[in-house]
């Protein structure tokens, strides 16, 4: 069967080989977990504990600040020793709860549900909400909100995003290989919540073992299809994924639900299963620690709140020529210099680039109008024009070139031979333009 895909995109070297073969290892829980009260898009949580209070693993420590928000739980048992503001990777200060680990690993009471599939859609949704689950591919949009589409937007398809199109990252890959059944159950739960009877798992073709494992697991599921996708960035962007799998085009400025689709990430599906089956809140996730700047690239199951320094150390530490630490993938991730930053629900990877992989981008030339960015832009925009208009300060004119359809995937910037900082210029214009 021909591989499904979308128009545009690029093929950066994916370097998945560094960590794709490394099974997920449980990472030693941290001495101190620093748990931000805002790890999601939406209102931050308000603290539900006080300094000095003993907490158990899985206990609620952050009360959602509204409907578009996600509960936060303790990832270790122990004592709350501080509340402090820390800088998150995006450069914003967030209130965080610091829990001193007592190493007892005592769980808060969890509600086991062997018959979770018998629960009503609303009960399942409640469990997902209580578990504080968010989009774990990096977008961190609260999952229960995505599962509550307005009445006038009927949903008929759920897609699990196993594209993992960001180079280097292998967290979703390992999860599909090691726990295909759980991911699939997660999908079935999501389908039940939305009353949908068509489910897909889209996987890029560079993960044949994951495709095979998922197909095996889904062999007796008539309503679920595992589809192989062409390896191309940004295949895992929601709109591109929906286009590739269902051939539906999310209208410009619209959302997946406008075409009857809900997309959830592999890690999210896994968390949904654990929440509904065991009542387990989201307190850990799979994180890929990789790059040529890391001695032993690995995949870890790490507690939320673990400082990334501990992940780097567990993966053998930096190599001699490590120069840059990125949270997330190389195309859309955030570079950080503070290694005390904790793993959060959206941390799919800790990527350490070496000197040879890192592309210094201080110097750039004029646009030579080669058209590469236009051909590659998955949104069909003209990044060259956007960058030129922004560079010259004609911010208002960028609207004529549909600047707000840009989702900052970085594809244009990756391909540009003149090394122009196109997305950076687009971000600037987006900030300065009046909507």
């Amino acid at each position: 069967m021909a591989l499904l895909t979308f128009k545009g995109g690029v093929h950066p070297p994916d370097h998945k080989e560094l960590s794709a073969g490394s099974p997920i290892k449980e990472l030693e829980p941290p001495e101190q977990a620093v748990i931000p009260l805002s790890q999601h898009i939406g209102a931050p949580c308000s603290p539900a504990v006080e300094i000095g209070q003993e907490v158990r693993k899985g206990q609620l420590i952050g009360e959602p600040g509204g409907f578009v928000s996600a509960a936060v739980h303790a990832s270790v048992s122990g004592k709350v020793v501080a509340m402090k503001d820390i800088l998150n990777p995006m450069g914003r200060m967030v209130r965080s709860v610091v829990v001193q680990n007592d190493k007892k690993e005592e769980w808060a009471p969890l509600q086991d549900n062997p018959d979770y599939m018998k629960l009503s859609p609303d009960e399942l949704k409640e469990k997902i909400k209580n578990a504080g689950i968010v989009g774990m591919g990096g977008a961190t949009f609260p999952t229960h909100v995505k599962l509550s589409p307005p009445k006038e937007k009927p949903i008929d398809v759920v897609i699990i995003n196993g594209a993992e199109c960001e180079p280097y990252l292998t967290a979703d890959h390992r999860l599909m290989v090691e726990s295909p059944g759980e991911v699939l159950e997660g999908l079935k739960i999501l389908m039940k919540v939305l009353g949908v009877n068509k489910g897909y798992v889209g996987i890029e073709n560079n993960k044949p073992d994951a495709i095979e494992k998922m197909r095996e697991a889904a062999s007796s599921e008539p309503h679920i299809e595992i589809v192989a996708l062409e390896v191309k960035y940004p295949q895992g962007a929601e709109k591109m994924l929906i286009k590739a799998i269902t051939d539906r085009e999310v209208p410009a400025g619209g959302l997946p639900m406008d075409v009857g689709v809900v997309v959830q990430n592999v890690g999210t599906a896994f968390a949904v299963y654990e929440a509904c089956r065991y009542g387990k809140p989201l307190i850990e996730r799979v994180v890929t620690v990789t790059g040529h700047g890391i001695a032993n690239p690995s995949n870890f199951r790490a507690r939320i709140g673990t400082p990334i320094r501990e992940l780097i150390d567990a993966a053998g530490g930096f190599t001699q020529d490590a120069v840059k630490v990125v949270l997330g993938g190389p195309m859309m991730g955030f570079a950080v210099s503070d290694l005390e930053i904790p793993v959060t629900k959206g941390t799919s990877g800790v990527l350490v680039l070496s000197k040879s992989e890192y592309a210094p981008a201080e110097k750039f030339g004029p646009c030579i109008r080669c058209g590469r960015c236009i051909d590659a832009c998955p949104m069909g925009l003209m990044p060259s024009m956007l960058s030129i208009l922004s560079e010259k300060g004609f911010y208002e004119d960028t609207k004529e070139y549909n600047i707000f359809d840009c989702f900052e995937c970085g594809t244009c910037t990756y391909v540009c031979p003149a090394k122009r900082p196109i997305v950076q210029l687009i971000r600037l214009a987006k900030m300065l333009v009046k909507r």
Binding site: A252, L339, I374, G380, M382
Partner: protein
Amino acid sequence: MAVAKKEQELIVSVSPHIRSEESTSRIMWTVTLSLLPAFAMAVYYFGPRAVYVTALCIVGSLFSEWLVQRMAGKEITIKDGSAFLTGVLLGLNMPSSVPFYIPLVASFVAVAITKQLFGGLGYNIFNPALIGRAFALITWPRAMTTWFTPTAAFMGMDATTTATPLGIMKEEGVQKLLEVFGDKMTLYTKLLIGYRAGSLGETSVIALLIGAAFLLYKRYISWHIPVSFLATVGVLTWIFGGKEGLFTGDPIVHLLSGGLMLGAWFMATDYVTCPSVKKGQIIFGIGCGFLTALIRLKAGYPEGVMFAILLMNCFTPLIDRNLKSRVFGARKEAGK
């Protein structure tokens, strides 16, 4: 080996954190490389003068770029290969016999005026090499249209000037052309390998196609402009090119002669001066083809490729503005 790193040593910059290997200068030098077969054939047919003329153009181009950037206090970018490429293209567009000052002046017009005074790389409206050539043609019409047969040029028999195939066809018709070359097959073959009068680099169709294939393979150019350009010339000269009425023209002679192959594959595809959206490129190619055929068949000049491309260069901004790429998810009617 694990290495302790100080946090201050870590670089923080915004995404994306990786970049493709492609660069402006790599593109320029690769395109230059793709002209090597054509240049080699030029040397083979026209001898040392091919080297001499091309070298003058290159030196003139590099010097002009350096001079303007120097005077404007801008960064000197002669190493990026773009001025070098303009020099090569200009050289390949010159007859072998031009006196030394023509390449020098033409390359100054090309690089200093057409390119740098319009804002430098990326901002020029017209293809620099073609403006350089157009200027030379208008200023020194005799010298720029004095052609030698390949062998004559090589042997240094500068008495044997001749007309180009297109020139013969224009003046005396296709019949005369056949007389000169023998029969149809010989004619086609000689045009293909380039054994004919013409500018240095335009004569050998084979050599040009090898270079073009290389660029297509490397995806440095796409088929859109050359194919629509060539197809339009082919169809129009077939329909209107014959003396005996419609559909009696010989499109093959037209496709293989003059500067068409050099122009369609290497000049019309210049990134800076052609539209950057594929739809627009097809319009651009058709426009080039139409104007080429019009000039060749109906105007005073035997050859029209140069003026056709230059004229279409004027339309590039207009085409780009009106034929934007289709935005993902745009409603059908809205997605111009």
